[in-house]
């Protein structure tokens, strides 16, 4: 807009009127008698208008487009919320405004969208700084059909955060328990490491931290394994010696430490196919509440009576 610098048309209100000004200038000859514009003024307006007009789309959107007509939203969602990630983040904000016992975190995984890229698996490992032997999320691959007529389907699996969790009652010290928001948590400082809960999980979602490092056996165990913390349960955990979380049962937390800051779980944020959804089932406006009630929503091994909080869209 450097060319129009200093001209009255450059100020915002004037810019709104720019199309009108251009129109006015095109009909200049007819109105000349009424307005008595000088030739010099007419020329100046014509030059300014023709130079400014192509730049009009660059002006602030609200101002440039508010004028012709008010926005008409499609359905109950604003345009921004039509992006599912933005919508889920708004869902989180609403849930976090409520007390913890009124939230119910659930995950919905759309199997038709999963490409089996394993980005979620790696995002999870990175987010939680997971050591060898500990995995919270994997993608199961299932081959269907007989060669040459085969296809593959992918089933991402993390902790089901069961409402009737088989892993919690078996704990002899009550170190693993169901939180009011539905997440099954482990108190690392209480867990004695008996691994009964790992045995009891019908989904194989729990792991044991043996205290190993990927870089063990190389010239040096790298500090990113011994000093880079994981922030599970909102604390800072570094893995050294035999101290917790080493020697503990470990599991997916639905990334509570992120969620409670209004950030989606790492696997949800990373999903390239937008196949994993997360939110508050107690909020009827949330995306997950809408998805989990669909007729094609299933839960894994429901016959085990576990009542999982992870739903699959088939």
């Amino acid at each position: 807009m450097a060319s129009t610098q200093g001209s009255p048309a450059d100020t915002a209100p004037a810019a709104v009127a720019t199309p009108a000004a251009a129109q006015a200038s095109s009909g200049d000859g007819e109105n000349a008698g009424r307005r008595h514009l000088s030739r010099r003024e007419v020329l100046r307006r014509a030059v300014v208008s023709s130079v400014a007009l192509p730049f009009a789309p660059l002006l602030p959107v609200e101002i440039a487009y508010a004028q012709p007509q008010a926005p008409t939203p499609i359905g109950p969602l604003g345009p921004a919320e039509r992006d599912l990630v933005v919508r889920m983040e708004r869902d989180l904000e609403r849930a976090l405004a409520k007390p913890v016992d009124q939230r119910k975190w659930v995950m919905v995984i759309d199997l038709r969208k999963c490409t089996g890229c394993n980005a979620c698996v790696n995002a999870c490992r990175s987010e939680n700084a997971l050591p060898p032997g500990v995995t919270y999320r994997v993608v199961l691959e299932e081959e269907v059909g007989v060669y040459p007529n085969v296809s593959k389907r992918f089933v991402p699996r993390n902790c089901m955060q069961c409402d009737n969790s088989p892993c919690t009652p078996v704990c002899p010290v009550g170190a693993t328990y169901k939180r009011p928001d539905g997440v099954v948590a482990v108190d690392y400082l209480k867990c004695i490491g008996c691994r009964y809960c790992i045995t009891a999980c019908p989904y194989g979602t729990r792991s044991f931290d043996f205290g190993e490092y990927f870089t063990a056996g190389t010239p040096a165990v790298q500090p990113y394994e011994t000093q880079r913390p994981s922030f599970e349960y909102g604390h800072k955990w570094t893995r050294q010696g035999t101290g917790s979380p080493i020697g503990n049962a470990r599991k997916c937390t639905f990334c509570l430490h992120r969620v409670e800051q209004g950030v989606l779980p790492a696997c949800v944020s990373t999903c390239i196919g937008r196949a994993t959804f997360f939110g508050d089932a107690n909020d009827p406006r949330s995306l997950v509440a809408e998805l989990m009630s669909r007729p094609n929503a299933r839960r894994m091994k429901e016959e085990a009576g576990t009542r999982p909080s992870v739903y699959y869209l088939e």
């Binding site: 698996v121 993608v139 199961l140 004695i192 045995t199 080493i246 894994m300």
Partner: protein, 430 residues
């Protein structure tokens, strides 16, 4: 054993020396391995996030079973008045106490955080079968110690009247109980001991069933493992416990029992009890196979297939069927008049029962709980194969050697009955 006298023959001395040397060395190696395990954590094991319980848990249930089996055998004497078994009553109680101690060591070293073991008391969670079992173990061990002390107190008080180190230990162990000066006093004290033993035995029977049946229930309640999740499972634990207890007593009595007129009848009685329990156990295993393996394609039948024809077939046929069923039955049937072969039958059963315990625990883990889970992620601690690591073997054998040393020590200083000798000191009387 004071009653047998301290003058061992030369063969007796050599056998004793060899026993103490070998057991001592193995126990020290085990202690070193234990220190290593406590410093480094569970990464010294071959366990994984998929096969989470292995050799140590198998040995834990083995020793709980030996304890319950031995104790229940002792109740045959003190509750059901089976005269022939009177000679092994105290020995059975003592081994029951030691075996439970061994079981606790195995379950303790299997913890990821052994230093937090007292949390089981301080934050006890009563819905967990494991937590409930620890209450059973505690009550059971107290009961057994009280019972054994009452049975020994007259002999301890008598031994305390003499001179020497053994007498001094006996005086300490008698807890101030004085030897009765009158015959009536002696009779009253002896009757009181038998009454206590009877009451303790009666309380102890349901307790011991709770101890080992309950240990079976730790596994049986796990819905995620169809191989364990049946009502038969705790009963199998219990019956094989009885078999293992009878086997232990058969082996120990054949080795330690004084060779007199009552020796062979007692030994034969023990061996025939062992065969009875082996037969019952075989029946239960058969029932488990019939119901579980009939329909192919289920998880239970696949696991039983692994057992009979798969990765566990060698342990199953060699250990469970060969050592714990066929060999003892054949030996008792064909060589039933020889103390040596009856003792060998007991030993065979004891070795076989290790295989039985191993096969109760590990096969439940070798199939992925979800189809494709074994292929979904590759990691050295997420595997479906398990061969116990050196540390697991060394600690396992070391604890067994340590228990054997404790038993030998107890045989030296405790009055366990006039018919039980010191380790290595019995051959001369045969």
């Amino acid at each position: 054993m004071a009653a047998i006298g301290a003058t061992g023959s030369r063969t007796g001395f050599a056998a004793r020396a060899a026993f103490y040397l070998v057991a001592g060395v193995i126990a020290v190696v085990g202690l070193v391995a234990l220190a290593d395990r406590l410093l480094l954590g569970l990464k010294v094991t071959a366990l994984s996030s998929t096969i989470t319980w292995g050799l140590w848990i198998a040995l834990y249930i083995l020793f709980v079973g030996l304890s319950a089996g031995s104790f229940l055998l002792s109740t045959m004497v003190y509750v059901f008045n089976v005269r022939e078994l009177e000679r092994v009553g105290r020995l059975a109680l003592l081994t029951a106490i030691l075996a439970l101690g061994g079981a606790m060591v195995f379950v303790w070293i299997d913890l990821g955080h052994p230093e937090r073991v007292l949390s089981v008391v301080t934050s006890w969670q009563g819905r967990s079968v494991m937590a409930i079992e620890f209450v059973f173990y505690a009550a059971y061990i107290v009961l057994m110690v009280v019972e054994l002390w009452f049975l020994m107190r007259l002999d301890l008080a008598a031994a305390g009247c003499r001179e020497g180190v053994r007498a001094r230990i006996a005086r300490v162990l008698s807890l101030g109980f004085r030897y009765p000066v009158t015959t009536e006093g002696y009779a009253a004290a002896a009757a009181a001991a038998m009454r206590v033993a009877k009451v303790a035995g009666i309380i102890g029977i349901p307790l011991a069933i709770g101890v080992h049946g309950g240990t079976g229930a730790i596994f049986a309640v796990v819905v995620a493992r169809p191989y364990w999740n049946s009502g038969l499972f705790p009963i199998m634990f219990l019956v094989s416990a009885l078999a293992s207890g009878a086997a232990l007593m058969t082996f120990l009595y054949a080795t330690l029992g004084r060779r007199d007129d009552g020796f062979l009848p007692t030994l034969r009685r023990l061996a025939s009890l062992m065969i009875l329990f082996i037969a019952l156990d075989a029946l239960l295993v058969l029932a488990d196979f019939v119901a579980g393996a009939y329909h192919p394609g289920t998880e239970a039948s696949a696991t039983l297939g692994e057992l009979a024809f798969g990765r566990f077939s060698l342990i199953f046929w060699g250990g469970e069927v060969g050592l714990a069923l066929a060999l003892p039955v054949l030996l008792v049937a064909l060589r039933g008049r020889s103390a040596f072969w009856l003792g060998t039958a007991g030993l065979s059963m004891l070795l076989g029962i290790v295989a039985v315990r191993y096969d109760l625990v590990v096969p439940a883990y070798v199939r992925p709980v979800l189809p494709g889970l074994d292929q979904a992620y590759r990691d050295s601690r997420m595997v479906y194969e398990y061969i116990p690591a050196a540390s697991e073997w060394l600690i396992g054998v070391g604890v067994v050697a340590f228990l054997a040393l404790l038993l030998a020590l107890a045989l030296e200083i405790l009055p366990l009955g006039q018919d039980i000798g010191r380790i290595g000191a019995t051959r001369r009387s045969s």
